[in-house]
């Protein structure tokens, strides 16, 4: 009898547990997220120890699917193979991450300080121009670099703007390889650093600096002894975030490294895939994942401990600006000129490139609209017929990318919202913690490695239906953007007090009505931005898709890569311009509708690495 009672209590307890909608959601999400994140990771682990079809079979003499340590011994036994395929790319990745982070922080930090603490002129203009390079995908900056500096003496020998107009031939190290990769990464993430550091500076209690002024500390001393130490955790966390992005970056080194065989781990991984060394490619990919995980752990530890620095609140916004005096105009004009060079000029250069009949010849007689509006009279036989505005391949790729963006956004936004609700309602329970960290997990994994993982499952027998499918790509995108979406969902739900829902419970409003009629309408704008931001990010994503698309014509961004690699510069530039324009339009729409922009969204999103 007693045990029967006991059983009954357990059943009752389970029953009660599931009467709460938040609990049901948590259980569902726990299962779903485990399947979507943990399982792929485990299957990737497996791929590192089995033989794949093709060259690996020949080399090992084993059957496909057999256990082997071949990948590990081959990649790490030393000698030139290890050097060129692992250690040099590893070093390159590290240097790229490090250099990009240092440069980005220097650029972003200086501008953030000027904007937040001085009476610099034209702040609004500088602020909005400066965000351009960050709203544009990083690879557009790489393409821009090529457009500007490629010349007849290096690489493929195409004449760039600098040579065409001014006869300036930059040396190879300047045009290809580590140096431009660092510059481009730094320029792209400079605004990111600016957003994070500027945000901290703006929110930093101005009285901390004022009290130092009153105690007679000089300006420089205040920066050195007060401001810098206080924003240091934020700077460090920015450094780590940029470092991990640079370390994992794929597209930038692909554009700028290919010609001189400059590889980072990510581009090496792709090359290994192409060469049929699948197992080793996965090992290289897992290095990137490990590094991402390591960095975020460090970041969380460090910023977690010293977070109290920036949460001091007070009467901010009363800060008195430092008077730049006679340096004000020169500094602001210099900044505007430099920033224009990386925000407006790229657009113009892209546009010009698409108008050149033969690339590199910058003459009026060489201008044509054929690559935009042509209807097949082009002499190119590249499977493209005419200008991109009348080309079916381009339009269907664009259409698919749109569809993909919307699907992914719907998935990420909706799941994120419900996770937000469920986690906030059951905050503090183990299950909620598990779901929260699982939803955050994809953030730790760089895009290219993330697609690797999903590639791994899609090639297994059970999930072969996923291979090369639109569904797979949409799923990957959805899961990849889930960290931002769920974070946003959690934050927006945290702002609503429980009483609002409880008032509904008391009068017997069912749970779905409570959500859709009470809670969601209150956070309308933040929820909308949760849907819009993934759309924008998806539109410009390359890394995530390059391994997963069935063919390069599948998506607009991968089509662009194809054009670039096959040397159809005008098309590549036209598509780039198209993507930039779409992203900028979507971003301004999103900013108008919800106040969220990629810059803010990603900036805010990335900073949660530290929370």
């Amino acid at each position: 009898m007693k045990s029967l009672n006991k059983n009954k209590t357990i059943f009752n307890r389970i029953g009660t547990f599931f009467t709460k909608p938040a609990n049901c959601m948590l259980v569902i999400f726990a299962i779903l997220l485990t399947a979507l994140t943990l399982y792929p990771l485990l299957s990737m682990l497996r791929e590192m120890f089995v033989v794949h079809a093709g060259i690996e079979k020949t080399l090992t003499g084993l059957k496909k699917g057999n256990f082997t340590l071949f990948h590990w011994t081959k990649l790490f036994k030393g000698g030139e193979w290890s050097m060129t395929n692992y250690w040099i790319p590893f070093l390159n990745s590290t240097l790229l991450g490090f250099g990009g982070a240092v440069l980005g922080i220097m650029i972003g930090g200086v501008i953030a300080w000027l904007m937040a603490r001085t009476n610099l002129k034209h702040k609004k203009l500088i602020g909005s121009l400066f965000l351009f390079p960050y709203m544009m995908p990083a690879w557009t900056m790489a393409l821009y670099w090529l457009n500007m500096f490629q010349n007849s003496k290096v690489g493929a020998g195409i004449v760039g703007v600098m040579e065409g107009l001014f006869g300036l031939c930059m040396p190879e190290w300047f045009v290809y390889g580590l140096f431009p990769c660092i510059i481009v990464t730094g320029l792209h993430f400079g605004p990111f650093a600016y957003i994070l550091i500027g945000g901290i500076l703006q929110n930093m209690d101005a009285t901390l600096e004022e009290s130092a002024v009153i105690l007679k500390a000089g300006r420089l001393k205040i920066v050195r002894r007060i401001t810098l130490p206080i924003i240091m955790p934020a700077v460090l966390s920015t450094f780590l975030l940029i470092f991990s992005s640079g370390f994992a970056s794929y597209t930038v080194p692909m554009f700028l490294g290919g010609a001189v065989r400059f590889f980072t781990l990510s581009s090496k991984m792709k090359a290994m895939f192409n060469a049929g060394y699948t197992g080793q490619a996965y090992i290289i990919g897992s290095t990137v994942i490990l590094m991402g995980w390591l960095i975020l752990t460090i970041n969380q530890k460090y910023t977690g401990r010293k977070r109290s620095f920036t949460t001091v609140t007070g009467k901010s916004g009363q800060v008195s600006f430092i008077d730049l005096k006679r340096f004000n105009t020169p500094i602001s004009i210099a900044l505007i000129v430099i920033i224009t060079f990386f925000s407006i000029i790229p657009l113009i250069v892209f546009a010009i490139q698409t108008l050149l009949r033969s690339p590199g010849v910058y003459e009026f007689s060489n201008l044509t609209l054929e690559f935009w509006l042509g209807r097949g009279e082009s002499s190119y036989k590249n499977g493209m017929v005419g200008g991109i505005l009348f080309n079916k391949t381009v339009w269907s790729a664009l259409g698919r990318q749109f569809l993909l963006s919307i699907t992914a956004a719907l998935f990420a936004g909706t799941v994120g919202l419900f996770i937000g609700y469920a986690v906030v309602r059951r905050r503090g329970t183990k299950l909620a913690q598990y779901v929260e960290s699982m939803a955050f997990f994809p953030y730790l994994i760089p895009a290219i490695s993330f697609s690797t993982i999903y590639l791994a499952i899609s090639t297994t027998k059970t999930f072969s239906f996923l291979y090369n499918s639109f569904f797979l790509i949409a799923l990957v995108s959805g899961v990849k953007y889930l960290p931002f979406a769920s974070r946003g969902g959690i934050n927006s739900m945290l702002q609503i007090s429980t009483e609002i829902e409880e008032a509904g419970i008391v009068v017997g409003v069912p749970w779905y009505k409570r959500l859709f009629r009470l809670l969601f309408p209150i956070q309308k704008t933040s929820i909308m931005s949760g849907y819009l931001l993934p759309v924008i990010t998806c539109m410009r994503e390359v890394d995530l898709y390059t391994l997963l698309v069935p063919n390069a014509h599948f998506l607009l961004t991968t089509l662009l890569l194809e054009f670039n690699q096959t040397g159809y510069d005008q098309y590549a530039n036209a598509v780039t311009l198209l993507i930039i324009v779409i992203v900028l339009i979507l971003n301004s729409v999103s900013e108008k509708l919800t106040g969220a922009s990629v810059a803010k969204g990603v900036g805010g999103g990335a900073s949660f690495g530290g929370n």
Partner: protein, 371 residues
């Protein structure tokens, strides 16, 4: 010696006038409180004197030095004004220990290492926080942080000390403790204190003089008890004192050379103790709650609307005709709801305000005419 003079000081943010043509003189060793509701310009005033905010117009002199003059283009940086500033949120540097926080200002003055050390420990002893010397601010309680902030501000021995609502982040008990300490500190040091608060009790208890502001305009600048007993206008009368002063609409007329007030449907004779003409009809009579006495010999019939005994005193809401007034009675006396009582107005500091301008026109005593 630091005497602070503000002449025609104004501060505008775009179109919003934060402080409008302010003229005050703060005497040496005064303890001035800038009092007013939030947004009245008191913090802005303080920050302008300290040099953290630049006035739009006017002239500020500290001691013999003109620290700001809009016409002459003088604007001394806060560092050159020889002042101390205690911030509302303490503004302790989170990455420095208590010792480093206090020593920082002395380092900037290029003090010798030994001198710094002895001064820091002197301050620590003064504020009884020696045991926290190597802690970081985050490891201290609110009250301890407050003491560190005071120590840091006092360490360079500033001649003028500015405080911006320094007690508002503390709980009630600590706050009253710190009030006592601040008052001691003021008499022990020979500094001038300027103190911003929105808490009228704090202003009353601490200050030698209250500077009461509203919407950027100075309302009254007097010692606390004067502000309390002789408010310049209804705003001041209403802002100072708890429970607030009772305001009763009345008609004033002259009968047989006597001033007769008609209020609560009764007639009362008003005997002024101020030599000001009383030639208005519509007035507002201001009576402090402690000046409405509930006694059996009272001439006003009333009922007890509610009584709130707090132990030491009891606040009684008294209903006279259709009007509700508050009365404070010493001791705990509980009245039943709607119990019939009698009361009287018993002070010679009854205020008469002009109903239109809301300015004080006279003060004196009221005696209710027997029916």
């Amino acid at each position: 010696m630091p005497r602070i003079v503000l002449e025609h000081v104004s501060k505008r943010f775009d179109k919003f006038v934060a402080v409008d043509d302010l003229n005050i003189v703060i005497e040496d060793r005064d303890f001035i409180t800038l009092l007013g509701p939030s947004g009245c310009g008191k913090t802005t005033t303080l920050r302008m004197i300290a040099g953290l905010e630049t006035p739009t117009e006017g002239r500020i002199t500290i001691g013999d030095t003109v620290v700001f003059d809009a016409e002459k283009g003088i604007n001394l940086s806060p560092a050159k004004r020889d002042i101390g500033f205690l911030f509302q949120n303490y503004a302790l540097w989170p990455h420095m220990t208590v010792y480093q926080n206090i020593a920082f200002g002395l380092e900037n003055l290029k003090w010798k290492r030994e001198d710094i050390k002895s001064r820091v420990y002197e301050m620590l002893r003064l504020l009884k926080i020696e045991e926290f010397v190597h802690r970081y601010p985050a490891e201290l309680s609110g009250g301890q942080q407050q003491r560190v902030a005071i120590a840091r501000t006092l360490a360079p021995a500033p001649k003028v000390l500015f405080m911006d609502e320094p007690l508002s982040n503390l709980d009630a008990k600590l706050r009253s403790e710190m009030r006592t300490e601040l008052k001691r500190l003021h008499s022990d040091s020979d500094s001038t204190f300027v103190y911003v608060t929105h808490d009228q009790l704090e202003a009353m208890t601490l200050a030698t003089k209250i500077c009461l502001m509203n919407k950027g305009v100075l309302q009254q600048y007097d010692p606390p008890l004067t502000v309390y007993s002789k408010p310049n206008n209804i705003f001041v009368a209403d802002f100072v004192g708890n429970p607030t002063m009772n305001f009763i609409n009345a008609k004033l007329s002259e009968v047989d050379g006597k001033h007769v007030l008609s209020l609560f449907g009764l007639y009362a004779t008003f005997t002024a103790n101020m030599n000001k003409p009383l030639n208005r009809e519509n007035v507002i009579v201001g009576v402090r709650p402690e000046h409405i006495a509930i006694t059996d010999s009272g001439k006003i019939n009333a009922t007890a609307y509610s009584a709130l005994p707090a132990g030491m005193e009891t606040t009684v809401k008294v209903k006279i005709k259709d009007a509700l007034v508050s009365s404070v009675v010493f001791g705990a006396i509980d009245y039943k709801t709607d119990q019939a009582i009698k009361c009287d107005i018993i002070s010679d500091q009854i205020c008469i305000f002009d109903a239109n301008t809301k300015e004080l026109i006279s003060q004196g005593s009221i005696s209710i005419n027997s029916l």
